[in-house]
Symmetry: C2
Subunit: 212 residues, 2 copies
């Protein structure tokens, strides 16, 4: 019992520190020395508990992306189900809302989630193939679902166009989410905006772009 809980603490400490440092300094930019220092565990603990730095990366991603995607998937499918029930096409704005709102809510509420979302944004552009591939693996099914839903919503647009407009949306969303952690201009600060305000800022833009 005691052993188990202490192990869990060590693993969690490592995961929390990794989440924070990966967001701030990137995967390659974070050394195990700094990481274990922040987590207040021994340098060898990462390799003992996770096997390697890369396995730790996977664990960090998996821990938060799994429940988040579960919520988002449920919300998007509810939009499609509701539309089908009413004998109409789903609305692009509703689909985007079903994806974005839980993302920003999650970012606001969960411990370390702000770091995690920043990390997602960084990972899209990470030069390290490893990082991009691992992320891609976890994100791909969710993106596929969005693609399907959008094809229902916007049947007059080609799959090609929808694909790239979704990419434009992901780029806009995640760039903004991590730039706002970085920027410090008094009159333009949205660092402390709540989830609803951020949705109101971002959703109209993405929605108009998707339908354009």
């Amino acid at each position: 019992m005691n052993l188990q809980s202490e192990q869990a603490d060590t693993k969690d400490s490592i995961l929390n520190a990794a989440e924070c440092l990966f967001a701030e300094k990137g995967y390659s930019g974070t050394s195990l020395r700094v990481l274990t220092g922040k987590a207040k565990v021994n340098l060898a603990a990462v390799n003992y508990h996770f096997g390697s730095k890369q396995a730790l990366l996977e664990a960090v991603i998996k821990r938060k992306i799994t429940p988040l995607n579960q919520i988002r998937r449920k919300r998007v499918e509810e939009v499609r189900r509701q539309a089908r029930k009413e004998g109409r096409r789903p609305d692009a704005n509703d689909i985007l809302y079903a994806f974005i709102e839980p993302t920003l809510r999650f970012r606001e509420n969960e411990r370390g989630a702000k770091d995690f979302v920043t990390f997602i944004g960084r990972s899209f552009a990470d030069p390290d193939d490893t990082v991009r591939k691992i992320f891609f693996r976890f994100i791909q099914p969710m993106f596929q679902l969005l693609l399907e839903a959008m094809r229902e919503a916007l049947p007059h647009l080609s799959e090609n166009i929808i694909f790239w407009r979704l990419q434009l949306s992901m780029g806009a969303l995640f760039h903004t989410l991590h730039i706002c952690e970085d920027i410090d201009m008094d009159h333009l600060n949205i660092k402390d905006l709540d989830a609803d305000s951020m949705v109101n800022l971002i959703l109209p833009y993405l929605s108009a772009g998707m339908k354009s």
Copy 2:
């Protein structure tokens, strides 16, 4: 004469190799050994000709961003001038076109420009403060000009909203430009799209978002 031209060749070889490798592997992910290997110059040549790895980074950015920003600035100001002459507000779509078209044309035509534009996209999200700060310094005046022009075009929107919609646009644009170098799905491939087609793909999205 001979000495000068050989020096220029060495410096240019280094700049070209750096541009390519920084785009592909990032600044931190590129070692001077690999870089000088690709440039076919001696390991010590970077420090001799540029002083440090960071000074090389600045030189790489400066070489291409200066002429590119000159063109973009001229085009954006021409849109404002024309509108003023006709006694109307500039159109947001025209402003975006004046920024994006030269960017994509440049990307298509100039040697190494595709790498450079990819590198810009990566740098927005680079975890290394140094990289982001240097880029920010070179990009800031151009962004400021866009901000001003957009405030003229969209006077009913607050400066705050315009600022963040421009950020959304930059995120969408540069994410898409470097994801399209990375993606390899036959039916969705735009890797070999020409500049005009890319403008047609991206501009309506950004334009609708800005005006939303």
